[in-house]
Symmetry: C2
Subunit: 578 residues, 2 copies
């Protein structure tokens, strides 16, 4: 920091909150409450996440003037509680220039009941799940924020992600800010979870510290907003790159740091480390065995489990729902979904429904019953033979003597969807979907049947990952019967059906899907990575031809770098086009 006789450090309170989109009363109350706690701990400044006043991502709610007024009213309310402790909070700010977008994505410094500074975000993520350029004008001026003897380089989320030569960006707001000689970096973020991304985030935060030789306070949001999970993990690094604080992942947390402790390099008279290259994220794997190892990596799977639990829990709590219903087939997908739901919501709040058909094997019902016995959740058995016969009879004048086929298979799946929704509607449950990413990718599922549900728990996990997650769960709780783990996957919609009748084996399928969906490679490149050319063509055609099904699918809790849904926007093209 600049030599300053008066400098005596300040106490910064990191408030890693879980906001709720559009719930201004609750968000404001939480912020005000955190300010009170910060005051009790002697803090000078409390730092809150990006857009925490309205919740992130507010999407097109930002286009409603009424919504922006409510953001402004919340800021008004919060600033009245900053007589003692100052606050840095994220909220939209209006763009006074009539040209360009109406809003900025801003960090507000509130103190003494006043708005002291409003800093605009420069780098607006507009890729994957992000649409910021849809709403926000990028900042085009950069100034440090003076506060309590500090000169703060205050930025919002992505603004710290351009470490000099990242080709994604044309501007480095941090480089611009350095022209104003700051002595402290503060970044407020809403950086979503994907497995392994926490390491990138630490590298970026520390990379800024090493590049600029300044400490950084990094406040990230936590909590799930429908499909997007924010994992928290807020950080404080000192000017030597030492980790001073690391907040919890996947839950609200807070910490108090004294900036006087953040300058060991300068205290020791050493010069700051100065610009320094940091390792970028590791290159994604491309050979099939490496991909399978990457997908099933134990550390990734453990993170995914926590993200899914938070995703389920927040979906229910924020929507005001209490209980879930799940179709329990005796297969591994429904078993893992059920186990996670029981852990997230409590077994008493999760109703399993077994719906055997004439083609269900006896062990399926037994395995599903055993699963619910081990989990301790209520379950019902509702056989579908009666409705199936009745529907076939009703359809017989139309179907005539056509042979059994896909229509009859889907009929069973849709009877199950109807029964689950009927019980859900009758008792106020929410149907959790059990489809996995491999099935969704290839269209191996029935619209309005097993694709029904309000939230997809496993839709961003390849089948390979579902197995790894089942093993992770069993290491913790042992609640998934071995039979369920060991049987060959089957939809049981015709006699002796196996997934492998229609799909390549999952260890062959999943790496191809990964290279296409996460890697966005073309068929020739995927084949060159060690996959059979004809098989690659067949798999890619399945993925493309089933876009129309995924288009009607429910939100999927996002755990990977590229999930189906809002972050992957593909046109529905002709079925014959690859």
């Amino acid at each position: 920091m600049a030599a300053n006789a008066e400098f005596r450090g300040m106490k910064v309170f990191l408030a890693q909150l879980n906001p709720h989109i559009g719930n201004f009363e609750a968000n404001t109350a939480r912020i005000v409450d955190a300010l009170r706690r910060a005051g009790e701990q002697g803090a000078d400044l409390a730092v809150f996440p990006e857009l925490c006043v309205c919740g992130y991502p507010p999407r097109d709610l930002l286009e409603f003037d009424d919504f922006i007024r409510r953001c402004e009213a919340s800021i008004d309310e919060i600033r009245r509680h900053t007589l003692q402790v100052a606050a840095i909070v994220g909220a939209p700010a209006r763009n006074p220039d009539p040209r360009g977008k109406d809003l900025f994505n801003a960090a507000w410094l509130l103190h003494g009941g006043e708005v002291k500074a409003v800093v605009h975000k420069t780098l607006l993520p507009t890729y994957d799940v992000f649409d910021e350029y849809r709403y926000f004008e990028p900042a085009y001026a950069w100034q440090v924020v003076p506060f309590r003897g500090h000169r703060i380089a205050l930025t919002v989320c992505e603004d710290i992600w351009n470490l000099g030569d990242d080709p994604l960006y044309r501007v480095s707001p941090m480089d611009r800010l350095m022209a104003e000689h700051p002595d402290l970096m503060v970044n407020i973020s809403a950086s979503p979870f994907s497995y392994g991304h926490d390491a990138d985030r630490r590298a970026v935060v520390r990379g800024n510290v090493l590049r600029y030789g300044l400490p950084m306070v990094y406040a990230n949001a936590v909590g799930a907003q429908t499909e997007i999970v924010f994992d928290g993990g807020s950080l404080v690094y000192d000017d030597a790159g030492g980790l001073v604080a690391a907040l919890s992942c996947f839950r609200e947390d807070e910490a108090l740091v004294d900036t006087a402790d953040l300058y060991p390099s300068r205290a020791a008279g050493r010069s700051a480390p100065g610009p320094m290259a940091t390792d970028g994220p590791a290159a994604p794997p491309s050979a099939p065995p490496d991909i399978l190892r990457h997908l099933a990596d134990a550390q990734h799977i453990a993170q995914v489990r926590e993200a899914l639990l938070l995703g389920i829990r927040d979906y229910f709590s924020k929507m005001g729902f209490r209980s879930a219903i799940i179709g329990s087939s005796g297969g591994i997908d429904s078993a893992v979904t059920l186990a996670l739901a029981c852990e997230a919501l409590g077994p008493a709040n999760v109703r399993a429904v077994l719906m055997p058909s004439p083609f269900s094997s006896g062990h399926s019902v037994d395995d599903a019953l055993e699963l619910s016995r081990l989990l301790g959740n209520p379950c019902d058995v509702i056989p579908i033979a009666g409705p199936y016969d009745s529907l076939l009879h009703t359809l017989s004048p139309v179907f005539g003597d056509t042979p059994f086929g896909i229509a009859e298979e889907n009929l069973q799946s849709r009877i199950r969807g109807n029964l689950l929704m009927a019980v859900a509607n009758k008792f106020g449950h929410i149907l959790l979907n059990t489809s996995n990413k491999s099935e969704l990718a290839t269209g191996y599922g029935t619209l309005y049947g097993d694709m029904a549900g309000g939230l997809s728990v496993l839709g961003d996990l390849y089948k390979t990952q579902v197995y790894a997650l089942a093993e992770d769960i069993n290491r913790r709780h042992g609640t998934i019967p071995a039979n369920i783990l060991e049987k060959a996957p089957s939809a049981e919609l015709r006699p002796n059906q196996r997934d492998s009748d229609s799909l390549p084996d999952y260890p062959v399928l999943d790496p191809v899907l990964f290279l296409y969906i996460e890697g966005r490679l073309g068929p020739a490149q995927i084949a060159a990575a060690g996959n059979d050319t004809a098989l690659v063509g067949r798999i890619l055609r399945m993925v493309n031809a089933n876009e129309y099904k995924r288009n009607q699918f429910c939100p999927i809790i996002r755990v990977s770098g590229k999930a189906f849904g809002v972050g992957r926007r593909m046109p529905i093209v002709a079925r014959h086009l690859s």
Copy 2:
């Protein structure tokens, strides 16, 4: 134009094509074929729409390097056919600067087998259905393109929409280009239809002509890409603002113009008209009676009808589908959907299925049968009483003695969805959905039941507009029985049910919905426009609480300025939040 002794005009061929996203072979063949026709007519230059090489909007296909290579291969193929006639075609271009997005949205001038110029789009629409900033870097340099003695101000779509002081834009690429003294403006567009938007488009094109005193050749795309309809209507204006050519709307078309005919102002020795303000679009109505008039306006409805016919036709032809299936209830929504589908696909390719329940009135079946008799399309009657009883019986151990309610209502609707999908799967039909915008807005529909389908025909029409469209259809064909027009709307899922039991009357409901959805007003503003405050609150809560249902709905043919679906991105927030 600049005084130029050699100038003798050139012949420009406008090719208003209907591209197919990702169908490079077909698109290239059509472009090459149009170049051949242009040559036969003595053209010097053929002008094609924005991104016509790959189809618009390609969405995340643009993130696949393989897709961009196929665009480049198409450009290579097309340029080999420009030995005689030059071509201006739309295709992505790679950004050689490693910073920023990987691509530009570009207009390519091809001639003599070579790429003569590549012009980048500056103003990238990133609102409503558009995501261009997700993929493209904006142009940051502007140069005219010399060709055959002309100096062409060549732009892409939105680049002409900043008429000097439009607050949406920070840059006017046209103003920048004028510094280079062009003598002709050429714009290639993919500008989607919404009712009334054609007048805005003419005003903008002519506004540029009057502002800069130069003629403009404006080539727009035509055709539907799933939900987005491009209506064509390409234009040529002379330098005095006179309309020289106006191509057809809603179908492929072409025209040849001689630029020697485009300079009447200069030929007459008059100075160009110079910058001139043009009327912006009319302010949207706010009083309920004005809104109802606006929605049911005969000219709007006639355009909407053509857009829906094109939307149905292109969805089927591009996806490779032949026949549709529709649940025919005897109500107005299914009647209008059926009439449109019969006109678009031919009555023999549209199968109506009547599925009376124990609560259906006798006249419903009679009316639906009469409708199909008048339309001449095949229909089946499949009563649902048997499956309904069977499902209720199957559920009775779970339902116990709970009273009849929403679960039993939805059960019937989902049996119909299952039957329709079963017949569709058996015979290869595509289910067309019959929900209207008022129902979708308020959540008055059953997920996986009457909300099922591959494409929604009426989902962007308020009920008020469905009535107006029915009248328009009857003026043309007289195919919708009077009974269907006159009966009170009902879902017929319980005895004597009426829509008005659950919803305000449509003439009260629709204006409130319009002010909220199209107008994005808050509750106080909507009430101030002449609507009951409590009712406004109730309606807005219904709209917000049902986001989760619309999230799983099929693509909706877009005919308004704000349709549900890809152009309206709302978070799924708590049901209790307004």
